[in-house]
């Protein structure tokens, strides 16, 4: 069977979703696409069930925060892998901080369950339709999303470390 190259894969996706591949590039040879956030679920479902592409493995889901990128502050990144055709690809869906919801992938890949919980835990991205969207790594009582780039590197008001013992004030 002939190997699919990035161009062929991209063409197949663009044929099926002509308006939804907003941007594409190939950093280090890895086909990376920005797709319409509301179509992310549909595209990944299509990729998995496509007879020729057969993208059967979800490697990872991650979040990114771009606080300066107004209107598209958050990104959800899907890393996908086709074991049959031995290629990987990366999909990015951008979300506004005011509408930080995206459809869950749990109905396509069971493995998405914990990955989405982790992304929710650290970035507060809501995966609509997720069966059990709770924090997974941090303590349940935490009331913020720690990986967002909106916190000072060190909080000057905290009292749980006494600066005198660490040489950090000049008293």
């Amino acid at each position: 069977m002939e190997m699919l190259n990035n161009e062929a894969i991209l063409n197949l996706i663009q044929e099926a979703f002509p308006n939804d591949v907003l941007f594409h590039e190939e950093p280090y040879g890895l086909l990376t696409m920005e797709v319409t956030a509301s179509k992310g679920h549909e595209i990944i479902h299509w990729l998995k069930n496509h007879e020729q592409l057969s993208v059967n493995y979800l490697t990872n889901i991650a979040g990114i925060h771009y606080p300066e990128d107004l209107g598209r502050e958050f990104a959800v990144v899907y890393q996908l892998h086709s074991w049959k055709n031995l290629f990987r690809l990366r999909l990015k869906c951008y979300l506004s901080k005011d509408a930080i919801q995206i459809a869950t992938l749990v109905d396509v890949f069971d493995g998405a369950n914990w990955m989405e919980r982790e992304t929710y835990d650290f970035y507060g991205i809501e995966f609509v339709g997720h069966p059990d969207l709770r924090r997974i790594l941090n303590e349940d009582s935490m009331d913020y999303f720690p990986m967002r780039k909106e916190y000072a590197l060190e909080d000057a008001t905290r009292e749980d470390k006494d600066d005198r013992y660490f040489g950090r004030n000049n008293l």
């Binding site: 941090n138 303590e139 935490m142 720690p146 060190e154 749980d160 470390k161």
Partner: protein, 184 residues
């Protein structure tokens, strides 16, 4: 004094006189059952301390107790995340009196290098600590030194420490319930 003279006459060589408190303290100090709550690199150093080269069993401590019910000494070695905090407190609460806590390494003592949102900045925020061992990680010699200090406490503290007002006040500060010593 006459009685001692009598004893000397009766028993001859090979006996010792002491107070019951001291005898119990000595027995306790040389048969401490530690519960190793080891989470990271300090735990590896503790394993070396337990091993044949440093040999903690010289001090009657070869029997690790992985049940808090039977342990006398809680050895916390390693980073304790905030999520793990309630678990550690539960383990401490399940230990029966008398009990001591040895905090091994910078992380257990103060959070260490992990000055971050997810790490408990010292286990003394949730449970009282008897002896702190500094170091990142401390060498086995330092851990043994900490254990020796625990032994000194065990030998010299009152056997009825748990009934003292100071102890009750301390436990109250940590919101830990203790059995009432006055209840018959």
């Amino acid at each position: 004094m006459g009685k001692i003279e009598d004893l000397k006459v009766i028993n001859g060589e090979g006996y010792q006189l002491t107070t019951l408190d001291k005898a119990i303290g000595l027995a306790r100090a040389n048969s401490v059952w530690p519960l190793p709550f080891a989470t990271s690199c300090c735990g590896i150093e503790f394993m070396a301390t337990m091993g044949s080269a440093y040999d903690l069993s010289r001090f009657g401590m070869e029997r690790m107790s992985f049940s808090p019910r039977q342990a006398d000494l809680l050895i916390v070695a390693g980073t304790i995340s905030k999520k793990l905090g309630p678990v550690l407190k539960k383990v401490y609460e399940q230990m029966s009196e008398p009990k001591w806590v040895l905090s091994v390494g910078a992380c257990a003592c103060s959070g260490g290098i992990f000055d971050t949102y997810s790490v408990l900045q010292g286990i003394d925020r949730i449970i009282p600590v008897d002896v702190y061992v500094p170091g990142c990680p401390p060498r086995p010699e330092q851990i043994i030194d900490g254990v020796m200090n625990i032994h000194e406490l065990v030998k010299n503290e009152s056997n009825r420490r748990r009934y003292s007002d100071e102890y009750k006040h301390l436990m109250n500060n940590y919101n830990i319930e203790i059995e009432d010593g006055n209840a018959e």
